[in-house]
Symmetry: C2
Subunit: 326 residues, 2 copies
DNA sequence: CTGTTAGCGCCTTCAG
DNA sequence: CTGAAGGCGCTAACAG
């Protein structure tokens, strides 16, 4: 039933060592090699990964930990991670962590159990404690306290650009609408940069920053906008929030973008060939994924690695901001 | 550096067999077990997956092959597959096949190489040839010629229900709009049932079924609707198509659902907490995933398996059909 | 109950 | 250049 290297050797009339040699770094006589190759084909031999891994101590497998794959931002990210991993001959485990740090810990253990070589993670739970500089781990959008390698978009520039674009389009009174969690992460810079830029540009602004999980978002948005009717420009922390804001504004009979302009963050598309949902500060997800895989590979190979990789964002106008000549 | 079962045994002052026993089905004296557990903790011992797999010949790993994770239907499906796999203690490889049958074949090879125990696949390429009844494989939405196990939604009922719901809402002239590929799959039944039901109900209908990849869909839709202005009900093969249809209709100054009602298929949501995009025949994705994992597990365990699993669909009204009293 | 031992399939010396 | 033999870490069968 199960054909092993031994069967091949017997069939080819050689020793197992010889078969192994043609399989790997072959310095084998031409005729012998042919015999062996014929046997391999004939018997449909497949080397057993386990036996190999037991010696080699390398799996060519990485894990991707994200909150949930069922969200366009993460599914796009996962798409590219898988793409670049495959390009490097690496297989990918998928883990929806859902803020479940146990599940994340489980994968960290897998590294130690020789089941995966490393991990790429977008995680908002307290796994700091398990992360050591020894563990091959690349963090996305979050800078852990220790010297963990991370890749992120330029959230700071994003916040600045958002304000500039709103001003350029005639906004007089802008606001930032976001949600946050206790766990620090790079996205907080979106708000910081927004505030700083508003001050620099001397534009009137306000902030609605809610702690997640957000209860009754719609109600909070409604009362916020009712209390500040002068607002004509919104920078939302992400596109999902932007969509919620838009829904709320419409209910309040404000039209977007005529009365209020909205800029989101992320550049979400529901699928590869779809359009962007809103005007947005677009993250270079493809590049982020590429760099993440590359950095992780470097770590696994024991190379020297750049700890911090920041990639540029850009503003992409959509239906939720006014058109301006450039 | 790397701590093995031997180290634990030595440290605990017992034999390796004993350690193995506490690790697995332990019938060990309480005091001995404590000693061993202490040693395991002290040394931070992690069993090596490879060595285990080498014996057990089982990886507790499956692969999911889908066209692309970057699409709400597939990402939702993957979400649930991962969920149920995890619940059973099984890890999941993700593979975006993109109609790339080589990549699919690669994973099939992995089964033989003992790298995965089995595969769940939504695939539209010609991998029939590689599939044997020996290979642990569960197909979604596609019935391969051989006796391959598959799980599908009740596409037939879906087509029927769509027609009934349109008629119930007063439609006089309906149409089916779809795309197809040479490869046969279960979704073709949507059209078949649509046609049959229209005939039974004696309602006037037409069909626009385009071969994929569809070039210039918008143009084709436009000319179709212009040539058939009497159409007041559309059944689209999936929600994506439904959205395209709606966009087109709006351009033609037809309002949805007042002038034309549209029903899609799938019940796509862009993420877990979002709404359905359109009125739709909703597939029980959660259940499909659950059954797929269950069936695959049965195959792997060598149990007798039901070849064909068909799960019920239901109509969920949204913004693209008129409201009716029920 | 528990220590010892024989492989699982493969790779890598080590002699020939 | 090639066959034989040891061992990777673990489990299971076999004696104690």
């Amino acid at each position: 039933m199960k054909v092993t290297i031994k069967d091949v050797a017997k069939y080819a009339g050689v020793g197992v060592g010889t078969v192994s040699r043609v399989l790997n770094h072959g310095s084998v006589k031409e005729t012998t090699r042919h015999k062996v190759e014929a046997a391999i084909k004939k018997l449909n031999y497949q080397p057993n990964t386990y036996a190999r891994g037991l010696k080699a101590n390398r799996t060519n497998t990485i894990a991707l930990i994200i909150p949930t794959i069922w969200h366009p931002f993460f599914s796009e990210f996962a798409y590219y991670i898988e793409k670049y991993a495959t390009a490097m001959g690496v297989k990918l485990f998928l883990c929806n962590a859902n803020h479940n740090s146990e599940k994340e810990y489980e994968y960290i253990q897998m590294v130690k159990r020789n089941k995966v070589d490393g991990i790429i993670g977008i995680t908002y739970s307290n796994i700091d404690q398990y992360l050591s500089s020894h563990l091959p781990f690349v963090s996305i959008d979050r800078h852990f306290s220790e010297d963990v390698v991370y890749v992120t978009a330029d959230n700071e520039a994003g916040g600045r650009i958002a304000v500039q674009e709103l001003i350029k389009r005639g906004c007089q009174s802008v606001c930032f609408i976001g949600g946050y969690q206790q766990i620090p992460n790079e996205t907080k810079k979106r708000r910081q940069a927004f505030e700083r830029t508003c001050q620099e540009q001397a534009i009137s602004y306000s902030i609605l920053d809610l702690e997640e999980p957000i209860l009754d978002l719609d109600k909070q948005l409604t009362s916020f906008f009712l209390s500040q009717p002068e607002i004509d420009g919104v920078f939302a922390i992400n596109d999902t929030m932007a969509l919620d804001v838009i829904t709320c504004l419409k209910k309040l009979n404000k039209s977007v973008p005529e009365d209020v302009q909205v800029i989101g963050f992320d550049g979400q598309k529901i699928s590869e060939h779809a359009d962007y949902l809103v005007s947005s500060i677009v993250q270079p997800i493809d590049q982020m994924a590429k760099m993440a895989v590359q950095r992780l590979t470097e770590i696994i190979d024991g190379k020297q690695v750049v700890k911090r990789t920041v990639l540029p964002v850009k503003f992409v106008p959509g239906d939720t901001t006014l058109f301006v000549q450039t």
